[in-house]
């Protein structure tokens, strides 16, 4: 009970940080929106025949949502590392606060803010012609999958936030994840890629996640990779959570003698 209350207190603090740094919101929301517009209006004409019966904007929206999440979680790493550098985390560590709530607060605020960003990006997609045949259940499943992915990658961000030597470096792991989104069927089907890239693209974790999201939104079915998507997301969550806790316990948060 106490741990839950402390987690919420920590999350509230972190949400204030998010709301009060408009530049972060702009990066997190505007970058994916810009990409969405660019792909649809600049490259869409050339790429649309690749996606068969699916409208190009419908095809790429799930990938854009994943991109929104990834650019959002990078800031969780930045915020956590800043707390360490500024010493405020040591104030919390000397207080009778449930230790888990220091990290869980970040996870909660990151999840809430990323769901909010995803809704904004979806709204823009709707405005430029994205349509879905998903019913309420499919939308809920889609939301659940976005939440699970956000949680998994947020714990990854927490691990890197604890591990990094500087706040600036803390978020850099997200560039690799962003690259992975490009080497996946987010913007073009894997069938159009060279064999080596295709082999990689078809077997990397983002692929079943993005394909399941697309399947839920376009055809209103879970598709044939839903289990794989679930296993990857849950697996990353468990591993990254364990790594983050391990790093938290072994880290020396003090620098002065």
């Amino acid at each position: 009970m106490r741990a839950l209350k402390d987690t919420w207190t920590m999350a509230k603090r972190s949400l204030r940080h998010i709301v009060r740094s408009p530049d972060t919101l702009i990066t997190v929301v505007l970058m994916p929106i810009a990409l969405l517009l660019m792909f649809v209006y600049i490259l869409g004409g050339a790429l649309s025949h690749q996606t068969g019966s699916i409208k190009y904007v419908d095809f790429i929206t799930p990938g854009i949502i994943v991109m929104t999440v990834i650019s959002g979680i990078a800031y969780a790493a930045f915020r956590l590392n800043t707390d360490i550098q500024k010493g405020i985390i040591n104030r919390f560590r000397t207080m009778p606060v449930a230790p888990s709530s220091i990290l869980s607060g970040q996870a909660l605020s990151s999840t809430l803010s990323n769901l909010f960003s995803s809704v904004l990006v979806l709204a823009v997609a709707f405005a430029i012609g994205f349509r879905s045949s998903a019913g309420l259940v499919e939308w809920l499943l889609f939301a659940a999958l976005v939440t699970l992915l956000t949680l998994a990658t947020t714990w990854m961000a927490i691990f890197f936030g604890l591990w990094a030597k500087s706040a600036e470096g803390a978020g850099s792991f997200s560039y690799i994840l962003l690259l992975l989104i490009f080497i996946s069927p987010s913007f073009v089907p894997t069938s159009s890629m060279t064999p080596v890239l295709r082999g990689f693209a078809e077997n990397q974790p983002f692929t079943p996640i993005i394909e399941t999201m697309r399947s839920l939104l376009t055809t209103g079915t879970t598709g044939n990779k839903a289990w794989l998507a679930l296993v990857w997301s849950a697996g990353i969550l468990v591993v990254m959570y364990a790594l983050a806790i391990w790093q938290y316990k072994r880290k020396t948060f003090v620098t002065t003698i």
Binding site: T9, H17, K86, R91, R93, P96, V97, T256
Partner: protein
Amino acid sequence: MEAAIAVSDLKKAYKRNVVLKGVDFTIESGTIFALLGSNGAGKTTIINILTTLIKADAGNATVGGFDVAKSPNKVRQHISLTGQFAAVDDILTARENLELIGDLRHVSNSVQTAVDLLKKFNLTDAADRRVATFSGGMRRRLDIAMSLIGNPSIIFLDEPTNGLDPEARNDMWQTVRTLAKNGTTVFLTTQYLEEADELADTIAVLHHGTIIAKGTANELKSLVPGGLVKFTFHDEEQLIAAIGVLKNEFEITERDHLTLTVATCGSTTQIAKVFIRLRDAKLEPTDFSQQIPTLDDVFFKLTSNKTEEN
């Protein structure tokens, strides 16, 4: 009186850098304890161990009756730490900072607690400004105010007046005195002897990872010769004559143009002897005074001895 803090044979090394070589001390409840030492002496390491931030390699430490290594959570119920650099949240306002700590300490009314502390620390006008816009002194005041929430019985202050202007420093001293008067145990570290002299009931001098002296300010002062007598002469001729008369029996510690400082063991007989020798030689100082040793003298004497031994 029960001990608020008891430390025995505390050791800590960072890789090959041995920071604490076996530190012992006890602090009685409701007193002010000053840990005095230069930069890098290991003061912050002791605070970090006692506030559960790091673990010692060896030795025992209890805070508020609980072992810091075995029951850190119990210790945390009783303490608060104000570190060397104000640990305040720049993005939040002063009020939000206080309410945050109030919520985390589960005080019954964190909103009212914040209002009271803002008033007490003269921050009411700035209450709803972001802390990023605060001056150094205001940040410190907010930092201390945050430390007082939940009425911890033991407060750690790591170099609390570092970087403060004289006025802010006096405010801080007043706060520390008020805390102790209300029964709080205060553990502070400082590089300033004046500060330890001014505030502390007990002082320990930390040097290269060991406590080289501890006691009250007066006990420490008694470690250096108390019998320094300073004479002023009318002219240099008399001064040189006085040195000639005294140098065989007494140590001349300092000599200036017309002044001379003579060390005695401090007893009246010894001091009288100096005067008798001068009278017998028909030398008449125009002025004289007994020199009271300061903590600075103690500190330099102790640390220079230790360095020579090394």
